[in-house]
């Protein structure tokens, strides 16, 4: 994963789009144009206490004069969203990375189905814009409790027009993955929202090949019953050996030993800390790496090894 520049952006506007979702527009105090991005990309937001949170960009990729994000206040969350709501008012400074995309549209696909749950709408706003502009056939299923709980609904309606299907559970219309037609061989399905929605769509479409299913949830779901064991790491280039105790992550141990490894979420979802390995049985605990990469790549923030592993560092 590549390093990204971090900018101090100014909050140009902050407005509540629902009772608990704030929509922010961020601009650079000096540069008229921000680094470019593609639909589905996210930025890292750095909090003063060192926390880093990812938020999808929900503006227009063709408008590089500012970045837009929408943040839902999660009272039971890890504190990032509360900090955003309490501190990022107009004129405040936000430390924001250049964008990265782990959830991009597959180019050339002719039929796209987007399924959003609540705040999971954010990456689809830019995707829908791009698809609409390209004239590519798509449909967006937007699930929320009520219209007033659906962030940026007005914008979404304007962008999607007749290609929007709203599912408001408190109004008796609950989304059912069975409504998705995947008969066409070029249909790609994208889901973003709570884990249960992503899982429901995945399980509801057993015939859809993995390569045509794209799910994003920005909360890692590490197994609470996982019992971490200590293991040994060998650095391939120097032969140096390090011990990773049961209560420390591989990433922490590497950093302590002087390795400069970038990281961001430290939850196994963003991929910033990805590195190569050989000779070892790795216990992959991330949500990002596809099976094809797990043979020789790992995310040291969450993944561990049985007994020992050799890292390509």
């Amino acid at each position: 994963m590549t390093a990204r520049i971090i900018m101090k952006l100014h909050v140009e506007s902050a407005r509540m789009t629902t009772h608990d979702v704030v929509h922010l527009r961020l601009v650079h105090p000096l540069r008229p144009e921000l680094p470019e991005w593609t639909a589905g990309a996210h930025v890292d937001l750095r909090m003063p206490d060192g926390k880093i949170r990812q938020y999808s960009l929900c503006g227009d990729p063709n408008d590089r004069s500012g970045y837009e994000i929408a943040v839902k206040r999660e009272p039971a969350g890890r504190g990032g969203s509360r900090w955003v709501h309490d501190n990022l008012s107009v004129g405040a400074v936000a430390h924001v990375s250049a964008p990265r995309n782990n959830f991009s549209l597959v180019s050339g696909s002719k039929h796209t189905v987007l399924v959003a749950g609540g705040i999971g709408i954010t990456p689809f706003i830019s995707m829908a814009r791009v698809l609409a502009m390209q004239g590519t056939e798509f449909i967006l299923h937007y699930c929320a409790k009520t219209p007033t709980d659906a962030p940026l609904l007005h914008e979404v309606r304007k962008i999607c027009e007749s290609r929007l299907r709203c599912w408001f559970s408190k109004r008796g219309s609950r989304f059912d993955p069975a409504v998705i037609s995947i008969d066409r061989p070029d249909t790609h399905v994208y889901v973003c929202g709570p884990e249960r929605l992503v899982e429901a769509v995945r399980h509801g479409l057993p015939k859809l090949p993995d390569a045509r299913f794209h799910g994003e949830m920005f909360t890692a779901t590490l197994d609470e019953n996982f019992n971490a064991e200590p293991f040994e790491v060998t650095i391939a280039s120097t032969g140096q050996q390090l011990l990773v105790p049961a209560d420390r992550s591989l990433l922490e141990v590497l950093r302590e030993s002087g390795f400069s490894i970038s990281s961001s979420c430290e939850l196994g979802v963003c991929g910033s800390c990805e590195c190569g390995y050989r000779d070892g049985i790795v216990i992959h605990r991330d949500k990002l790496l596809p099976v094809s990469k797990r043979q020789d790549r790992l995310l040291p923030c969450v993944s561990r090894a049985r007994v020992s592993v050799t890292l390509n560092l």
Binding site: R4, I5, I6, K8, G258, S260
Partner: protein
């Protein structure tokens, strides 16, 4: 930090006769970044602290990408002439012209009229501040990643100079840069 003239490069060069003479250059820009990966910020004046760095910079704060590795990097310099060469695609080894704004290259001081490659092992002054050339800077892949531009080969051998600060003080764009005796 490694003292500039204790560095393997600086110590060998300091013991050898050489270094360009008869030149006088100018400080064009001062940039610092508060922490690793942060965008560089331009300063109208900066405080240099002997043996430490530029106040507010990531290598002064110990929060730079390479801070865990001891080296000479109290202050880094690059020639405007090298940036001009990149912009005119000279030599034409890269895909095309590369524009690196003074805030993009991540060196602290952008200078003009200063033969940096000749100043390893030499003492020179920037305004009231005295610097010691410790080693040539070399481009890193990290910079390429941050910029999203292939600058490694184009910057090779003209990536600037890493210096130690012998005498601290305040520097400002426009300050004269010139050679001092050993």
């Amino acid at each position: 930090m490694v003292e500039a003239f204790d560095h393997p490069a600086g110590s060998i060069a300091a013991a050898k006769v050489g270094g360009a003479i008869g030149w006088q250059g100018t400080l064009l820009h001062i940039h610092i970044a508060p922490s690793a990966s942060y965008e560089m910020e331009e300063l109208a004046e900066a405080e240099c602290v002997a043996g430490r760095g530029i106040v507010g910079d990531r290598y002064f704060n110990g929060s730079g990408t390479y801070s865990p590795k001891p080296d000479v990097r109290e202050v880094t310099l690059i020639e405007q002439e090298a940036l001009d060469a990149l912009a005119r695609n000279d030599p034409p080894l890269q895909e095309g012209p590369i524009t690196l704004a003074p805030g993009d290259h991540r060196r602290n001081l952008t200078v003009i009229g200063v033969p940096l490659n000749h100043l390893v092992g030499r003492r020179f002054r920037v305004g009231e501040v005295i610097l010691r050339g410790g080693r040539l800077n070399f481009p890193c892949r990290y910079l390429e990643e941050l910029l999203g531009k292939s600058v490694f080969l184009p910057l090779y051998n003209r990536s600037g100079l890493n210096c130690g600060i012998e005498r601290g003080g305040i520097i400002r764009p426009g300050d004269t840069i010139e050679m001092l005796g050993s």
